[in-house]
């Protein structure tokens, strides 16, 4: 079931537009963004490949189960909580950002707080479902919205206002040394595999991931489009002035023959769907990790009845998100998101390397085949 893996990769590749990644990158367009992106591409691909090795070594096991093979439960709790916090913050930040966007463009009369609460309720519903459910939601959501988003990208690239000279100008700064912030931001687009920290539970023992070359291709394309197209359309200087750069970029496009003239509405609605799915997945991951810290936790990928603990944990997440939005202003949110992106990429690199090392010392039982393959 390779496609479910690449759905996650594609989702993260596309969702980065909603989390200030292009904005951060464009801030560094003269000072190392390109080199950072190249580094991120390399490191992201390497991490993804390392992680697929972890997946292969522990088929059908989520992270808590893997950890429990090596260390006692109380020692694994801090790890799990840190990961849970990472996923929780990813979802909550994206929800927060998007509620502001919705408030700006669709419902200027209501407060962004109310919009956020409604979005949180939807995501609560999504996140309390089972892992199997959410992966079906992801599939259908992406099949529905990804073509339209790709159409918008296509339209943007073929726009006659697209100034290729601006892009060439920016490319000339490729020799600048990479920086930490743009590197972290760019690496976010490559982290689609990371949802398999938990979704690995769904994979059958004989699962083999094919087409691994798709990981760098999908993610690099998404990253290049999200970085270069706004520069081409708004110019080298002006593009740095917009915070929600892709909303503004999609608003430069016009569909001449449709019911809907301004592309931004279609674009934002599709991104709303994607953000909701992304946030639901994030909360679900965080919830599963918190749940596996509880005593007597038993992994169940598709319980017939939603356990009450799901609702309790996820409503706590939602309350935290709303409280965060209440106390943090939009500007602070942006600052926090940029720092968060750096911390997140640190956590990612550390945890994938850690898991890879663990997988090298995997218990040999039932694994002679993999060893043989490596020798050949």
């Amino acid at each position: 079931m390779n496609r479910y893996f690449y759905y996650n990769v594609l989702l993260l590749g596309l969702i980065n537009l909603a989390l200030f990644v292009p904005h951060t990158l464009i801030q560094y367009r003269y000072t190392g963004a390109l080199m950072s992106m190249a580094c991120a591409a390399v490191s992201g691909t390497v991490l993804a490949i390392l992680f697929t090795h972890v997946m292969k070594t522990f088929p059908g096991k989520g992270i808590p189960e893997i950890l429990s093979l090596y260390i006692p439960k109380y020692a694994s709790i801090p790890f799990l909580l840190v990961w849970a916090l990472t996923w929780l913050s990813a979802s909550s930040l994206s929800l927060n950002t998007f509620s502001v966007l919705i408030n700006r463009f669709f419902n200027p009369d209501t407060s962004s707080m109310i919009v956020l609460i409604v979005m949180c309720l939807t995501c609560m519903y999504g996140a309390t479902r089972s892992l199997l459910t959410i992966i079906f939601v992801l599939e259908i959501g992406l099949i529905f919205s990804a073509p339209i988003i790709l159409f918008v990208f296509f339209k943007a690239i073929h726009n006659k206002n697209m100034e290729w000279d601006a892009i060439r100008t920016v490319i000339q700064y490729w020799k600048q040394m990479p920086r930490i912030k743009p590197f972290a931001a760019a690496s976010f687009a490559f982290t689609g595999y990371i949802n398999f920290f938990m979704m690995n539970r769904l994979l059958s023992p004989n699962f083999r991931l094919r087409f691994r070359w798709l990981i760098p291709v999908i993610c690099s394309l998404a990253l290049l489009i999200s970085f270069f197209v706004p520069i081409g359309i708004h110019g080298t200087e002006e593009s740095a002035n917009y915070l929600y750069i892709w909303s503004v970029t999609s608003d430069t496009l016009i569909m001449t023959y449709g019911f809907i003239e301004r592309v931004i509405f279609v674009f934002l609605l599709m991104y709303l769907v994607m953000t909701l799915i992304f946030a639901s997945i994030g909360w679900l991951m965080a919830m599963e990790m918190v749940k596996s810290c509880l005593p007597k936790a038993k992994p169940d990928i598709d319980p017939s009845r939603t356990p009450r603990s799901n609702w309790i944990i996820v409503s706590f997440f939602a309350a935290m998100t709303v409280a965060y939005a209440n106390w943090i202003s939009e500007k602070e949110n942006f600052e926090i998101t940029t720092y968060w992106i750096v911390i997140r990429s640190g956590v990612e690199i550390f945890s994938v390397l850690f898991l890879f090392v663990l997988s090298l010392f995997a218990p040999k039982a039932g694994k002679p085949k993999a060893g043989k393959k490596l020798e050949q």
């Binding site: 079931m1 479910y4 059908g60 919705i102 669709f106 419902n107 209501t110 919009v115 409604v118 979005m119 939807t122 519903y125 999504g126 479902r129 089972s130 892992l131 199997l132 459910t133 959410i134 992966i135 079906f136 939601v137 599939e139 259908i140 959501g141 099949i143 539970r201 769904l202 994979l203 059958s204 023992p205 004989n206 699962f207 449709g258 019911f259 809907i260 003239e261 301004r262 509405f265 609605l269 709303l272 769907v273 909701l276 799915i277 639901s280 169940d300 990928i301 598709d302 017939s304």
Partner: protein, 442 residues
């Protein structure tokens, strides 16, 4: 025996009991005359008994139609299913002499096709099984008989291909059938509700009268439930996509039927979202459409004095009553309702300034696209779905509609039909060991 039966059926006037005697034997016969074909009783019991061409005791022993029934507690139930009881030498036998009133060779009425079998399943269980067996002549076809209903004890059969059926699904169904506790079952719809569809927004079991659909379902490894007295079979498990698939799709031109399938999905989306979108675009986000379109829509609403959601409620009320009326009315005056209703909806309401002309188009599109769904129980389920979506549309406009649709999507993906995912794209019906979610859960 006769005394005992008499006490059980104390108030039943149609109980027929007789004690017959010939040279050698005394037999006792009891049956419910209203349920039985009395000529059969004559042919099988009375005539041979009095003619005495063969010793009657031997005949009863040799003829497999006479089945021993030792448990006196089952006498009443057996008689109620149209059997005659016969006591001979202290042993009790039962003989099937049932006469069942039913529709003869019914035509398909609910799920019609142009080219394809026109005969529907019968209200009699045996006839239905006959129709199915003759279309699916395989020795793998297993038929399991049970009764459901505490009072009605309605006969019910489970049909499946024992080679292809999914064992987990079968266990699931059997376990559920064991736990049914409703008093009577007269229609398959009741059985569907009791099996777990009561509060669901979408049907997870398909009800059909078409034998060809039943046979393809058996071939796909599904389980069929047939109920005595109902010409609709239940197919389970079913997925969302099965409900939008008409049997014609396998009979007609390939490419056209593929287009029709796409059209049906579009129709479902339209019928669910259109009223909500109308509210959202009229009252919240008129900037969504291009200016010319917005102006013409707004222009058609100039005479309407109240907000768009009131308009939507009026029109949906009208169209739903119209549909309901045309279902309930006798066939002879049914067309009157549609003519009057159509005239009022189409012309007068708009000219009176009660609703906009765009709203009339919206209403008709909603109604017509709802009828495109080929299976009736899905069609009624989808009819309901537009109402919950109106609420977020009234409060949050277009983004609210999107949120509502995402909720529907999650709901659908979360449904399971007897353990099978209900809304899964490109999923195989039969579980494969390499499939996702098939991890051995030790």
């Amino acid at each position: 025996m006769l005394n005992r039966i008499k006490t059980v059926f104390a108030e039943a006037r149609d109980l027929t009991m007789s004690r017959l005697q010939n040279d050698t034997l005394i037999i006792e016969v009891a049956y419910l005359a209203s349920l039985c074909d009395e000529s059969k009783v004559g042919d099988f019991i009375n005539a041979p008994f009095s003619k005495q061409e063969v010793p009657f005791a031997d005949l009863v022993k040799r003829n497999p139609s006479f089945i021993r029934l030792d448990d006196p507690a089952k006498w009443a139930e057996t008689m109620l299913h149209g059997f005659a009881l016969l006591q001979l030498n202290g042993l009790v036998y039962k003989l099937d002499v049932a006469r069942i009133i039913r529709n003869e060779n019914p035509q398909t009425l609910v799920e019609t096709v142009i080219m394809g079998p026109q005969i529907a399943l019968s209200e009699d269980l045996i006839d239905s099984i006959n129709i199915i067996r003759s279309r699916y002549p395989s020795e793998e076809l297993a038929i399991e008989e049970r009764t459901v209903g505490v009072i009605s004890k309605t006969r019910m059969t489970l049909l499946f291909d024992k080679h292809r059926v999914d064992a987990t699904v079968l266990d699931h169904i059997r376990a559920k059938l064991e736990h049914l506790s409703d008093p009577t079952y007269t229609a398959t719809g009741e059985l569907v509700r009791s099996l777990g569809d009561r509060y669901r927004l979408f049907p997870s079991m398909m009800m059909t009268e078409r034998p060809d659909r039943v046979c393809t379902a058996i071939e796909d490894g599904k389980v069929i439930l047939l109920l005595q007295g109902s010409m609709f079979a239940i197919i389970l498990p079913a997925t969302f996509f099965d409900f939008l698939h008409a049997v014609d799709d396998e009979y007609d031109s390939y490419w056209m039927t593929r287009i029709m399938i796409v059209l049906r999905y579009m129709a479902v989306v339209l019928t669910i979202t259109l009223p909500a979108l109308y509210i959202a675009i009229m009252s919240y986000n008129p900037e969504l459409f291009r200016v010319q379109l917005t102006l013409s829509i707004a222009g058609s609403r100039t005479a309407v004095p109240y907000p768009s959601f009131v308009e939507v409620f009026i029109m949906l009320f009208m169209i739903e009553s119209l549909i309901e009326a045309s279902v309930r009315l006798p066939k002879y005056i049914g067309s009157t309702a549609t003519t009057v209703g159509g005239l009022i909806l189409g012309q007068a309401a708009q000219q009176a300034g009660l609703v906009s002309s765009i709203m009339i188009i919206v209403t008709s599109v909603v109604a017509i696209s709802n009828f495109v769904i080929p299976v009736n129980n899905m069609s009624t389920a989808v009819r309901f779905l537009k109402y919950p979506l109106l609420v977020p549309a009234i409060f949050f406009g277009i983004s609210g509609v999107t949120l509502g649709l995402v909720c529907y999507l999650i709901y659908l993906a979360d449904l399971r039909s007897f353990g099978k995912p209900y809304f899964r794209l490109f999923g195989k019906q039969r579980s494969l060991s390499t499939d996702i979610g098939q991890v051995s859960q030790e």
